[in-house]
Amino acid sequence: MTGDRWRRIAEQIEQIDSSLPIGRRVCVVAAELLAANDASLALVVNRTTSWIEGSDDAAVALDEQQFSLGDGPSFRAIDSLSPVMAPDMASPESLRKWPAFAPVAVRHDVLAVFAFPLRVGEARLGVMSAYRREPGELTAAEYADGLVLASLATMALLQEQAGATPGDLADAFSPGITHQSQVQLAAGMVSEQLDVSIIEALVRLRAYAYSNEQSVNSVARSVISRELAFYKEEEQ
């Protein structure tokens, strides 16, 4: 089963120096597994980056270029349901698709860009990008690794926003523990209770789980059974 892939990658991230921010650790592993020179994570709110973490400065600069130009595979991937693959930035096709960013990429010796959206349903957090100096497609295994990395990054970012400490990551990264569909259902309920975005609702569920030492699943279950409801502060 491919759960092995998840486990292997989660372990690899956990083995990276835990004093580094989690985003950086994901980027370092992403660069390695996707055979990329640089990798980055960008949090995006209203098409504007609010935060970028990279395996190195080059990755951060390339993300910044795409978002200031409003063009490029990573920029496109935020609104996309699927990853955006650009295996040859020097090709005429790439120039047509990314007229502003392709020449910049080539000038920086970046010849392939692979961008994976960070999302859970309608909670769209941003994008993970991998930059290569050589053109060429991702292999099927690299593509699957990219999806797993994007998913792990999404979970880590939600956890971080919820105030989790890095030590809780192992827990968050365990495969097969999330009643994903029930957590999403509960998040929808919380978003209506608090009149907040679905991202905020997912963060609030996790924050509640931490402060009460419960699993996200059991908090979700309490919300669905209506034993637990979240209220706006002024109503309390």
């Binding site: 349901l81 097969g176 994903q180 309920m189």
Partner: protein
């Protein structure tokens, strides 16, 4: 007439069966989203076969079994699907790529926890039929029965599972691993969006998840909008969509 103690599965059901396939083919051609196609398929299985509940699970790229269509949205049934991430016929079916039949549901069998949970819900037999394409197993069709079904019904279930797999992959003729992986990821994210929207409506109207799903569907039918687009507009409170505006109040 059958004289066995097993369920009867007579010829008139053939017309139901035919209509199940026709509906499925039509929904795919109409460009309905995958979650809608799989939900319809799960519901049709319960109509066509003598089973009490049906769920369609896919293995997402993380290796988790994800429910993408279910004849019933009860938490108990979802638990039965979820527990199979640890043990159960679905997991074995996905690993081996062959159908699994369990008419014992024994607490001393290969999946004691699952068997006990299924019995508690009143089921006596459980079946898992692989969803596979070109040797890649992408998930399984799960059937829960209050009495054992006949072998020919299982064959029908396999035919429906094959139709579902074609539906899952039809959008792209290149059935290579990357395409399959991408489609699986996409269908799971669509499912997540629909769950989020069900949550919003279940809170807004004080209804359960099953009724919230019905509301989403009705809004889609009334406005000619795909289920996934209805769900997206509900989660984002995007009132530029007729469906989202309509869902300010329950749809009778």
């Amino acid at each position: 007439m059958t004289t066995s103690t097993e369920s009867t599965f007579d010829l008139p059901d053939a017309s139901k069966l035919a209509s199940a396939f026709v509906d499925l083919a039509r929904s795919v051609n109409d460009g309905k989203d995958m979650v809608e196609v799989f939900s319809m398929l799960a519901e049709r299985c319960v109509t066509v076969l003598t089973v009490a509940a049906c769920g369609i699970l896919v293995i997402d790229p993380m290796g988790e079994l994800e429910v993408i269509g279910s004849s019933n949205h009860s938490a108990h049934l979802l638990d039965l699907f979820q527990v199979q991430n640890v043990e159960g016929p679905c997991l074995q079916c996905c690993r081996t790529g062959t159908a699994v039949v369990d008419t014992e549901l024994s607490a001393n069998g290969p999946w004691p926890g699952f068997a006990t949970a299924a019995r508690e819900q009143g089921y006596v037999a459980v079946y898992a039929v692989p969803l596979a394409a070109r040797g890649i197993v992408v998930g399984a069709l799960n059937l829960f029965a209050n009495q054992p079904i006949r072998a020919d019904e299982l064959a029908v279930a396999q035919a429906l599972a094959d139709a579902a797999t074609i539906a899952l992959l039809q959008a792209d003729p290149r059935e290579d691993e990357v395409v399959v992986t991408r489609r699986l990821r996409l269908v799971v994210e669509e499912r997540n969006t629909i769950e989020q929207a069900k949550g919003v409506l279940s809170q807004r109207f004080s209804i359960d998840a099953q009724e919230a799903f019905v509301q989403l569907r009705r809004a889609g039918e009334r406005t000619g909008t795909r289920l996934i687009d209805v769900a997206t507009s509900v989660v984002n409170r995007d009132i530029s969509y007729d469906a989202a505006r309509l869902l300010a109040n329950p749809i009778e």
